[in-house]
Amino acid sequence: MISNFSRYRDIVLYRTWAELKAESQQNYLGYVWFLLQPMITTAILYVVFGVLWSNRGGEYVVFLLTGMVVWQWFESCINSGMGAIKAKLHIMKEIPLPKYLFPLVHIFADTWRFLFVFVVLIGFASIFKFYPNWNYFYLPLLIVIHLTFIIGIALILSVASAYLNDLTTIVQSMLRILFFISGIFFSIDKIPAELIPWFLANPAAAMIHNYRSVIIDNTAPSLYLMGYILALGLTLCCIGFYICKHFDQKITKDISL
């Protein structure tokens, strides 16, 4: 049992490393892409919402960029984690492996990219005079809590989407809706007070809000929101690992490639 655990851990770590290495070699720009992607989207959003809707200023750039970087992490983990079991089923049809391994590999690779971009974001914030503060010590905790939530939801989706091809399309549409209602380009002040609890019930919005509290407002993230996402994340993780175990030998048999 213990030897298996360390073997699976090694597989996940080694494959994550391999994936990052493979990717940085395949593209000429390598790691620069992870930076360019949120920057381009931020630039577009800045033109639309900043210049056209007169929201100009450095603060808005940092505000947008924080939202975009966090959103991109969330979205890419769910997208790649969701397809992971299906994509690697040919391996699991030859070698018995726990089904959660490959979603975890994708999530960890995406998280590594996120951390890389996040460090750049913090440097970028300093340019606009949002300097690192003591509340930054909350950031590792925030990231771990959010990661728990992401792993839980991605595991469930990856098993479910192996059975239901349509689910991928449905989830992508829902992510598009979430993009517009998670407060990436508007601040929570713009929302009517009675709707704020509903707005923050969306975990993506709550996540983005937490990071902004630390980086922009220089305040501690809301304990209530952190607890909410952690409770949600742990529940989803339990369900996720349970269904991975439950469908372990079924999925290889039921899904023909």
Binding site: S3, I11, A18, K21, Q26, I91, I95, T252
Partner: protein, 267 residues
């Protein structure tokens, strides 16, 4: 664990004394085909209906049968990839049962060295173990400097040489083989065949699946014949193969008997 009527008549004395490491009892597996909720056709197909046999420690067991008789499905159950729908597999959970498959999960942009480690880890080995055996893999695969080049720069022969070299160092408790492997050009095919023969003459417990009775009689000491998902015969490799040939291609029976007589004469 084995009742007397299930014990095959023509057991070698050597296998009779040995312990059973794996026994399969009345194994059945059903593929369900109801993929779409709108066209719910219940096309259930029992690939395995009733398969039973025993595997003794250190023996080379041949599983013989025609294409589509359920041999590969059986392998998937034994390795733990599929779960059977009926019957049972009695085996010590701690034993590592591995199907020898070549190049599973190779990443094209990684080097041969990295892929060897990755592949070995999938085969149930630790990273440390693979690091220790890397030298051997490099030697055996004859890749030379290419060992550190990305696999996408390899020729297909080089890929299979690497895959075979990794597979051969993974030493599971029970090795499953789907047909005999010989890969690469004439020189390497001979070398890989020799390496496989070494496995067969060692203490390694092996199950070899094949549709070819001659492969089975050459490599194995006992055999199981599976037809339409059911065990037809289990026992001495020559007797089982004879029954198989008599049922499948009776016209070749004479040739087979002559070959067997010659083989027995030699030994």
């Amino acid at each position: 664990m084995i009742t007397s009527e299930e014990t095959p008549k023509n057991l070698d004395i050597t296998t009779k004394e040995k312990e059973v490491v794996l026994s399969v009892r009345n194994l059945g597996l059903c593929y369900r085909r109801d993929k779409n909720i709108f066209t719910k056709t219940s096309g259930n197909f029992w690939a395995l209906k009733d398969v039973s046999f025993d595997l003794y420690k250190g023996e080379k067991l041949g599983i013989i049968g025609r294409n589509g008789c359920g041999k590969s499905t059986l392998m998937k159950i034994l390795t733990g990839i599929f779960c059977q729908d009926k019957g049972q597999v009695i085996v010590d959970k701690k034993l590592h049962i591995q199907l020898l498959s070549l190049g599973v999960g190779f990443e094209r942009s990684l080097s041969g060295r990295e892929n060897a480690i990755l592949n070995g880890m999938l085969f149930g080995k630790t990273r440390k173990y693979m690091l220790k055996r890397l030298h051997e893999i490099r030697e055996f695969s004859e890749l030379g400097e290419f060992f550190d080049a990305p696999v996408k720069t390899y020729s297909s022969g080089m890929v299979s040489r690497l895959a075979f070299s990794v597979a051969i160092v993974a030493e599971p408790d029970i090795l499953l083989l789907d047909e005999m492997l010989g890969v690469g050009d004439a020189h390497f095919a001979e070398k890989s065949r020799r390496a496989m023969n070494e496995k067969f003459s060692s203490e390694q417990t092996v199950i070899l699946i094949s549709h070819d009775p001659y492969t089975i009689i050459n490599m194995c000491n006992r055999a199981v014949w599976i037809e339409n998902g059911e065990t037809r015969a289990e026992g001495n490799v020559f007797d089982v193969s004879e029954q198989y040939i008599a049922a499948i291609t009776p016209e070749n029976l004479e040739t087979y008997k002559r070959t067997v007589a010659a083989m027995r004469g030699e030994s």
